[in-house]
C-alpha cells in the first residue's frame, strides 16, 4: 500500500510527466487552450495510458523478455497504435456517449510520447504489474493536473499585454516555465510524507 501511494504521489506531483519529465508537451501546448478540451484530452490520456500499460507489461515480461527484448520499441508502438484503434471502435459501438466525449482525442494519442513513455518507463523502473498500473494512472492524473492548471494560467496570459515578439507561443512557454518552477516545490515531498 505504501509503495503504491508513493508511486502515485511521485507520478502526479514530484515527477510530473509534463512539467518535469517533458513528456506530452505537444498536447500540453496545443490543447490546453480551453478547460473543456484540456479535461477531455487528459481523461483520454489516463484511459489509454492505463490500457497501454495493462497490455504492454505482460507482452514484455512473458513474450519479449526471454530473448527478444530488443524488439521492445517496435512492438510497443504497434501495440499502442492497434489498442487505440480498437478502443475507438469498441467505444463507438457500445458506449457512444463516451466516444463522443473522448473520440476526438483518441487518434491524437497514438503518437503521444507520454503514452509510449509510461509503457517504457514501467519496464526500465522494473515495477511489478500492479505498481505499473498505478504508475500509469498517476502519470495520467499528473497530466490532467498540469493541463487544468495551465489552461487557467493560459487564459490570463492570452489577455495580457506582452511584447510583440513574445505574443503567442513564446509567452505560453515562459508561463509554462513558471508553472514548472512551482512544481519544483514538490521535490523531496515523497520521502518526507512516507517516512
Amino acid at each position: 500500500m505504501k509503495e503504491i501511494l508513493m508511486i502515485l504521489v511521485s507520478a502526479i506531483f514530484v515527477n510530473n510527466f509534463v512539467l518535469s519529465k517533458f513528456l506530452g508537451i505537444c498536447p500540453f501546448l496545443g490543447v490546453s487552450k480551453n478547460l473543456k478540451n484540456a479535461i477531455g484530452m487528459s481523461v483520454a490520456v489516463i484511459f489509454v495510458m492505463t490500457m497501454a500499460t495493462a497490455v504492454t507489461w505482460p507482452i514484455y515480461h512473458y513474450l519479449l523478455a526471454p530473448g527478444y527484448a530488443y524488439m521492445q520499441t517496435v512492438v510497443f508502438i504497434l501495440v499502442i497504435a492497434a489498442l487505440v484503434q480498437l478502443v475507438e471502435i469498441i467505444l463507438k459501438k457500445y458506449i457512444p456517449a463516451l466516444h463522443k466525449a473522448l473520440g476526438v482525442y483518441l487518434p491524437l494519442i497514438t503518437t503521444n510520447c507520454a503514452v509510449l513513455g509510461v509503457a517504457l518507463l514501467n519496464i526500465t523502473e522494473e515495477y511489478a504489474f500492479v505498481p505499473s498500473l498505478f504508475n500509469a494512472v498517476g502519470a495520467g492524473v499528473g497530466f490532467l493536473v498540469a493541463m487544468v492548471m495551465f489552461s487557467g494560467v493560459r487564459s490570463r496570459v492570452e489577455t495580457a499585454d506582452v511584447p510583440k515578439s513574445f505574443q503567442g507561443l513564446p509567452s505560453i512557454l515562459i508561463a509554462a516555465s513558471i508553472v514548472a518552477l512551482s512544481f519544483m516545490g514538490f521535490a523531496g515531498v515523497v520521502d518526507g510524507l512516507f517516512l
Binding site: L29, C113, T124, S165, L173
Partner: protein
C-alpha cells in the same frame, strides 16, 4: 528545387524546432548539456535520413490506408538500430538520453517529414530533406544545450567557461529553464523574421499524422500563433 536548396530549407527556413515547432519534447528534455543535444540530434538525423529514404522507396508499395502504421514500423526499426549503435560506441550518450532514445519513434519531426515530404518526393530529394531537417534539429538542440549548459553549469561541452566569474544558475539546467530558454529562442526567431514564420507554423499541423482526424486543427493552428 535543387538539392542544396532542399537542405538549407530544413536548416533555416523551415527549421523543425524553432519555426515549425515540432519535436518539442526531446528539445526540452535532453538539452541540459550541449553534448546531449548533439547526441540526440545526430541520432534523430540518422533515423530521419534512413526512414525518409526507405519510405520514399516504398511509397508506391505501401497502401494509403495503412501508411501511418507502416511508417511507424519503419521508423521504429531504425530507432532500434541507432540505439544499438549508440549503446555500442557511445555508452555515455546512450545513458544520458535514456528514455528519449526509444521515444524518437514518436518524434513528430520524423513522422511529419515522412508524411509531408518522403511520401511525395524522389529518393534523392528525400535524403537531402532528411539531412537538412536533421541538421536543423541538431543545430537547434546544440544551441539550446549550449545556452543551458553555460548558464546552468558554467561549462560548455564539459569545459569550464565561467568558472570564477559567475556562479552557475542551476535553474537553467532544470525543467523551468528548458521552457524559458525555448520560449526566448522562439521569440527571438519571431523578432528576427518580423513574424513571417507564424504563417509557416500553421502548416505544421499538416505534418501531424492525426491532422485528418483532428478537430483541433483550428485550435492547434491558433494556439501556435
Amino acid at each position: 528545387m535543387s538539392k542544396l536548396k532542399i537542405m538549407l530549407n530544413g536548416i533555416i527556413k523551415e527549421n523543425p524546432t524553432l519555426v515549425l515547432v515540432l519535436g518539442t519534447c526531446p528539445t526540452l528534455a535532453v538539452t541540459t548539456m550541449a553534448v546531449n543535444g548533439l547526441g540526440m540530434g545526430v541520432a534523430a538525423t540518422l533515423v530521419l535520413i534512413c526512414s525518409n529514404v526507405v519510405i520514399s522507396l516504398l511509397k508506391k508499395v505501401i497502401p494509403d490506408k495503412v501508411r501511418i502504421p507502416a511508417y511507424i514500423v519503419i521508423i521504429a526499426g531504425f530507432v532500434t538500430i541507432v540505439s544499438f549503435l549508440l549503446q555500442a560506441y557511445a555508452q555515455e550518450v546512450y545513458d544520458a538520453l535514456g528514455l528519449f532514445l526509444p521515444l524518437i519513434v514518436v518524434n513528430c519531426i520524423i513522422l511529419g517529414r515522412a508524411e509531408m515530404f518522403a511520401s511525395k518526393n524522389s529518393v534523392g530529394d528525400s535524403f537531402f530533406d532528411g539531412l537538412g531537417m536533421g541538421l536543423g534539429f541538431t543545430l537547434t538542440l546544440v544551441l539550446m544545450g549550449s545556452i543551458r549548459e553555460i548558464i546552468g553549469m558554467g561549462t560548455w561541452f564539459g569545459l569550464p567557461i565561467t568558472k570564477g566569474l559567475v556562479s552557475p544558475m542551476t535553474i537553467f539546467s532544470l525543467a523551468p529553464g528548458g521552457f524559458f530558454v525555448f520560449g526566448v529562442l522562439v521569440a527571438l526567431v519571431n523578432k528576427l523574421t518580423k513574424g513571417k514564420v507564424l504563417k509557416k507554423r500553421k502548416s505544421a499541423c499538416a505534418g501531424c499524422p492525426s491532422a485528418g482526424a483532428c478537430n483541433q486543427q483550428e485550435d492547434c493552428a491558433s494556439a501556435q500563433q
